[in-house]
Each structure stands twice: as C-alpha cells, then as structure tokens.
C-alpha cells in the first residue's frame, strides 16, 4: 500500500510540474502575444506595474522568468485582471462559490436519481426499468449537453412566458436587488437554478444509471455471488450486501472524478444561462483578452483535476482491499 501511495504522490507532483511548465510554455513562450502583455496592461497604475514586473520577472532572462512564474503560481499570485484591475486571486473564491453552488447541486441530484435507477435496472435485468435505463443512458450520452440545456431553456423560459405569461428566468443567478433574508435568498437562488439543474440532471442521470447498472451486472456474474445464493441468502441481501458493495470502489472513484468535472464542465452551462461562475469568467476573459484571468483559471482547473484524480486513486486504494493489502506480482 505504501508504495502505491508513494507512486501516486509522485505522479501527482510530476503532473503538477508539467502543468506549471505547460502553462508557462503556452502563455509565455509559444504564445503569439508578447509575454509582457500577458501580465501587464497599459491601464495599470505604475505601482502595480512595478510590483508585477518584480514578481514575474518580466524583463529578465527566460530561466529567471520561468522560476518566478512557477513561484507565483504556487503562491497563488496571479496578477491583476485587465478588465477589473483587481487582484485575480480575490475574485476566484467568489466565482468558484457560484459555480460550485450550481453544479454541486446538479451532481448531487444526478447521483441521487441515477445510481438507484442503475441498481434497479440491474436487479430486474431485461425489465422495463432496464430498457428505459439503457435507452435514456445512450440517448443522453449522444445528445450534446448544451443542446439539452438549450431545449429546456427554450421550453421553460421562452415558451412558458408565451403560453402562461410567467416563466423561469432565462439568465442570471440572483434577482436584482439581492434578497437579504436568508430564506428568500435561497428561494431566489433555487428559482434561478431551476432550468439548468433540471436540464443537467435529465441530461446526466442516464450515464450514471447505465454505469451503475453495468458495474452491478458485472459483479453479479462473479462466482462469489453464486456462492452467496447457494448459501441461501435472500436475493436482497445478495444484491445489496455483496454485489453492490463490490461496486462501491468504482462508484466512489467515479464520484470523486466527477467533482473536477463540475468546475470544468460548467463553462457551457454558465455561458447559456449567464451564470456568474468560473466558466463564464474564463470565457469572458478570453473575449476581452484578459490574460491573467485565463492563465489563473486554467491553472486552477488543472490543479483541481490533479487533486481529485489523486484523491480518487487514494480512495480506490483504501476501498479495494486487494490494493490495500498489496498485490504481489
């Protein structure tokens, strides 16, 4: 187990290093834009410029710039946004919060709907639930997520207002003015979240259900299940205590791996619904040539993926006794 851990840590660190270097290469070396222009903007005040030049080593040789760039990324110093002239690092927490609220809800809801459905489908293989699961799983996998969102947006916002006179909001996260009272705030948030959440859950439960179903079916064909049945255990006990338990490691891994997907996949959703999260920040920064933000967000995405991949590996090692004990070659 210890060598497993050590190996995963080494890979994570190596990947981190590669990400940092890649970031540097892409934005500072290979980019067609003058590297100084990716940190400094003519509109910055002189004090800001001086500080940034110091921190990023703008006018020094490549290797010094490289070292300073790595250090600044690792110390969470991303410079200042060209658009807002404010520190990039400050806005991150605000944007991240918005994204996580929306897509965290989506992930939880999708899992709550999808996994039990998958279990049911595997338990009654060939039945209606099963067919429905496979069908919807395939269909929603093939349909582009943003198309599902567009359809729901069209229906729940535009058609509703044509048919009924009221509709769910087509954009934004909160109304203006933001309700002060916590209950009203939550209600307002939920009101604005309704369309994206519904669209994403309906678009996403299929693949979770299908994945769980397949895992469970694979587990059910194992020999130990035959043993369990032969022992006379009830079908329910066989299903839940044995088969499902054995699918937990991959499912937990899947959940852990989906978490960075929350942040990363938010981009399109936030674009469609004008949700002020990380994704729309990233896109907006690219439209406005706001390089510090682009570099920072890309870096954060990569870090998140590395961290959660690492966590997933560790969790899998912990949950799967075969790895915990250590497999002999």
């Amino acid at each position: 187990m210890r060598e497993y851990l050590a190996k995963r840590i080494a890979i994570a660190l190596l990947t981190l290093y590669v990400i940092l270097t890649l970031n540097f290469l892409i934005f500072q070396v290979m980019s067609p834009v003058n590297p100084a222009k990716t940190i400094l903007d003519p509109r910055f005040k002189p004090e800001q410029r001086k500080m940034l030049e110091e921190q990023f080593g703008i006018y020094e040789a490549v290797h010094i710039r490289y070292a300073k760039y790595l250090v600044s990324l690792l110390t969470w110093n991303f410079g200042y946004s060209f658009l807002t002239r404010a520190s990039v690092a400050e806005e991150i927490s605000f944007r991240l919060y918005n994204t996580v609220i929306l897509l965290g809800t989506v992930l939880v809801a999708t899992i709550i709907v999808g996994i039990p459905l998958g279990v049911l489908a595997a338990a009654k293989r060939g039945g209606k639930t099963d067919v429905f699961t496979i069908g919807s799983g395939l269909f929603t996998w093939a349909m582009p997520v943003f198309f599902i969102e567009l359809l729901f947006l069209l229906l729940l916002s535009y058609y509703f207002s044509r048919w009924f006179g009221w509709s769910f909001p087509s954009s934004g996260m909160l109304s203006n003015p933001i309700p002060a009272e916590p209950l009203a705030y939550i209600a307002d948030l939920a009101w604005h979240m309704f369309i994206p959440v519904i669209a994403l859950v309906i678009g996403g439960f299929g693949s979770w259900a299908l994945y769980t179903r397949n895992l469970l079916l694979d587990a059910l064909t194992q020999d130990y299940i035959v043993t369990a049945r032969a022992k006379g255990l009830s079908e329910r006990s066989v299903l839940y205590r044995h088969a499902f338990a054995s699918t937990l490691p991959p499912i937990v891994t899947m959940i852990t791996l989906s978490i960075p997907g929350i942040v990363v996949g938010a981009m399109i959703t936030e674009y469609i619904f004008t949700w002020p999260g990380m994704g729309s920040w990233y896109l907006g920064a690219m439209q406005a040539n706001d390089y510090p933000v682009v570099q920072a967000v890309l870096y954060i995405y990569s870090i998140l993926v590395i961290i959660f991949n690492f966590l997933a590996d560790i969790l899998y090692g912990v949950l799967d006794p075969r790895i915990r004990v250590g497999m002999r070659r």
């Binding site: 067609p32 916002s157 535009y158 981009m267 890309l298 990569s302």
Partner: protein, 472 residues
C-alpha cells in the same frame, strides 16, 4: 500473415464477410448504419440537395420564416410564401410612342412636338395570403442620349380597393444608369410617405386585403424643343414579397435557408469528427504498440505521459489554445486528436503484452525479422479490430467536442458546422422569436449522428472484443 499477400487477402475477405454476417444480425448495428448512410448521403450530395447557398443567399424570406409545412395546421393556412414577382409590364392603352414592353421596357423617343407624352404601364397579380411584413421593388433604370428634355418616372402600387401608394418617383434631365431598389421598411421611404418608421408597417397596411394588386409604371416625357430625344430602358423589374414561410426548415434571422445550412453543415461536422477520430486512433495504435512491444524505458515514459495527459482538463485547455493560436479548422482537428488517443493506447498496450508471447511472433523473430517488421506486419493487423471499434466509438466524442467549441464561439468562423448553427441561433434571437426550426434541427442532427456511431460501435465492439462476448 501479411495482409498484402494473395493468401492474406483471401483470409482477410473471409474474416470481413464473417464479421459482416454477425453484424447484420444486430438490430442496433443496422439502425446505426442506416442513420449513418442517410447523413453521409446528405453530406456527399449536399450541392445537389440544396437549392440555395447556405451563407450567401440572404433574404430568401422574412427573418425567422417558419418551415413551409406548418401550413398543415389550420391557423397557419394563409401564411405567405416568398413571392418573387417578375414584372412583365404591359401597356394600358395604345402608346403614342413606339415602345417595347414586357420583361424589358425600351423606348426610343424623338420629339415631333413639344407636347408632353404620358405612357402608362402596369402589371397585375393576385395576392391571397395574410399580410406580409415587407415588400420591395427592384429594377434597372437606363436613360441614354437625353437631349433637351425632362422625363418624369413614377411607380405606384394599387390595392384591391383602388387606393394608390407611390413607390418611387424620379425626374431627370440627363443620362442615368442606376439600379433602383426600394424597401417598404426603409426609414426615409416610410417617413416621406407619412408613415412612422419602427411603428407602422406599410406592408401590413397595404396588403391587408386578399385580391388583385397592380403595380404601375408611368413615364412622362416633356420635350423642350422639337429635336429633343432620349432612349429609355427599364429592365429586370421584380416586385418581391419576403414570405413568412419558407423551405423545409424555415429561415434564420437574415432570411437564409436553414435546410441548406443543415445539409452543408453535415459535411464539415462529419469531416472534422471523422478526421480527429482517425488521427487519434492511429496515434493510439502506434503508441500502444510501441509501448507494449518495445517495453522497458520507452514503455515507462509513454505510460507516464499518458497519465499526465489524462489529468489535463480538455475543454479549457482546448479553448485556451484556440484563444491563443486562432480558430483554424486544422488546429482544432489536431488538438482534438491530441487529447483523444490516451485511452486506446492503454488498451492496445495490454493487448500487445499478451500478443507478444504468441508463437507466431516468436517464429518471426527466430527467422530474423526485425522488431519494426514484427510490429507493423504482425502486431498492428492483429489489433486492428479493437482499433476499429475504438475509432467508431470516438467519433461521437470528437463531434461533440467540436460542437461545443463552435457553440462557444471558438470554432473556425469559416466552417459552418452544426455547433455554429446553434451558436447563431442562440446569439441572433432564435429563442426570443421561438424559432424552434432553427434550434431543433442542428441539435437533433448531432444527436442522431452520435447515436448512429454509438450503435455501430457497440455492435462492432460486441463482435470484436473477447471480454464482452464471454458475458453472454
């Protein structure tokens, strides 16, 4: 056995027909194949199937014109299709001056006296639909050799009730060669006739009734001396009423045909998807074979690289690269491919690890074959079935990635893909105008094509992948 020798080819064709026999039996595989043939047909025969150019032909109908078949519903019965009325002018009464009329009006005037000459031309047409939102009149005016005289030209519209609306008026004393185009929604034209631009709709007011409409053209010639003369030609006169219904899939915000856009879009979308998938699969096979067979340090390095690449967030990185280096189709294909080969290389590698112990490999090596020869003539052909399954299954991913890129606005602006259609729909008001005919077709097309590949891929995978076969 090489696939290039005669015996090899016989075996290959036997294997292929065996494969096809099994494939034919899967319902799913056939469904997928049919869908793919339909879309492939659309893509290949695009120029023949589309009457209009998807990008250039604008104003074929009114903005957001609905598809023609909505007239099935009773309340849509009288929606006007686009009318492109060619004006074949006819003279109302005997003309005092010899004049050629019809599609082309030409007259040669030589004054005998200084008396004013009036010529009245007209064209009748029936309008039996709901009132349109606009209309326009177009013709070429050519006045030559105008000597010592004034001419006054005028065009009017007369509705079934007999009311007359002046469309255009011009008086001149000199040569003129102009293309005249008047729009019923144009600011100065409307205000000159007493209508409020942005508030009134002239077309709705004047075409409120169904019935007989007349467009007239009045030529008044006023010679100053007895030697005045001029030549006058009026050509290519059309009275165009953009329709509220159009084509198989309606029109977009600029009046372009959506069906043409969909069909032409299939070319690019399919091409990008297939190319990226092919490149990614080739890379996966080559790298997988290398890692598996050569082993050792090369294997370790390659597998570390794969591990690292898998940890990269694809879409943001893709966007950043397109942002920096420009949205070019080639870049996009290459980038999608670069992020697509990792999974396959792992699978191929494990296959190779098994295969390299096989006896035929040992034979070949014993006969003195080099490692490269073994790799390419023996190992690669043996993993081709798995590679093919992977290829088919990775096309949907490539198409979806490209669609997402284009939808966000980072696609090649010259490539009119389905993702781009959705982006235009989203950005140019399809939603507020409830233009479902612009939103649904591209999305459904993407879904169907991806489904087709998934079906085919699963059918192929079930036949080719030994692990899956065991579960049955």
């Amino acid at each position: 056995m090489s696939i290039f020798s005669k015996e090899g080819r016989k075996i290959l064709s036997r294997r292929l027909s065996g494969f096809w026999d099994e494939y034919k039996r899967t319902k799913v595989g056939i469904a997928g194949a049919i869908i793919l043939i339909i879309f492939g047909g659309l893509a290949i025969f695009a120029p023949l199937l589309t009457p209009y150019d998807p990008i250039i032909s604008k104003r074929l109908a009114e903005s957001f014109a609905q598809p023609q078949w909505v007239t099935i519903l009773p309340h849509n019965k009288d929606l006007p299709p686009t009318q492109d009325i060619q004006l074949y002018w006819t003279a109302q009464e005997e003309s005092p001056v010899p004049i050629e009329w019809g599609k082309r009006v030409a007259l040669r005037f030589e004054a005998a006296t200084t008396k004013q000459i009036d010529i009245r031309l007209a064209y009748n047409f029936t309008y039996k639909y709901l009132p349109p939102l606009s209309f326009n009149l177009k013709f070429t005016l050519n006045a030559e050799n105008v000597t010592d005289m004034t001419y006054l030209l005028e065009s009017n519209l007369i509705n079934p009730k007999g009311d007359q609306l002046n469309l255009w008026r011009h008086s001149g004393q000199a040569d003129a060669y102009r293309l005249i185009e008047i729009q019923s929604t144009e600011y100065w034209w409307m205000s000159a006739r007493g209508y409020e631009p942005g508030v009134d709709n002239v077309a709705q007011i004047w075409f409120a009734q169904q019935g007989q409409y007349t467009v007239t053209f009045i030529i008044s010639l006023m010679p100053k001396t007895t030697t005045s003369k001029m030549n006058l030609k009026i050509e290519d006169s059309t009275f165009n009423i953009p329709g509220l219904i159009h084509g198989i899939l309606g029109a977009d915000n600029e009046g372009r045909d959506i069906f043409s856009q969909l069909v032409w879009g299939s070319r690019i979308s399919l091409a990008i998807g297939l190319l990226s998938a092919v490149i990614a699969t080739s890379l996966g096979v080559i790298i997988g074979v290398l890692a598996g067979y050569v082993g050792g340090a090369v294997d370790e390095i390659i597998m570390r690289i794969v591990d690292i690449l898998i940890a990269l967030p694809v879409l943001p990185l893709l966007l950043a690269l397109v942002f920096l280096f420009g949205p070019n189709v080639i870049y996009i294909i290459v980038l999608i491919a670069i992020f697509g080969w990792q999974g396959l290389s792992r699978v191929i590698r494990s296959q190779i690890l098994t295969l390299r112990e096989a006896s035929f490999v040992e034979c070949a090596r014993a006969s003195g074959a080099s490692k490269t020869y073994v790799m390419f003539k023996h190992l690669v052909p043996n993993v081709l079935p798995i590679a093919f399954a992977s290829l088919v299954l990775s096309v949907p991913g490539a198409i979806l990635t490209e669609a997402a890129l284009s939808f966000l606005g980072f696609g090649d602006p010259r490539a009119a893909t389905w993702g781009k259609m959705l982006q235009s729909a989203f950005g140019f008001g399809a939603f507020s105008n409830l233009a479902w005919w612009w939103i649904l077709p591209p999305g459904l097309a993407i879904t169907l094509v991806c489904l087709a590949f998934v079906f085919i891929g699963h059918a192929v995978d079930n036949i080719v992948n030994p692990k899956l076969r065991r579960r049955r």
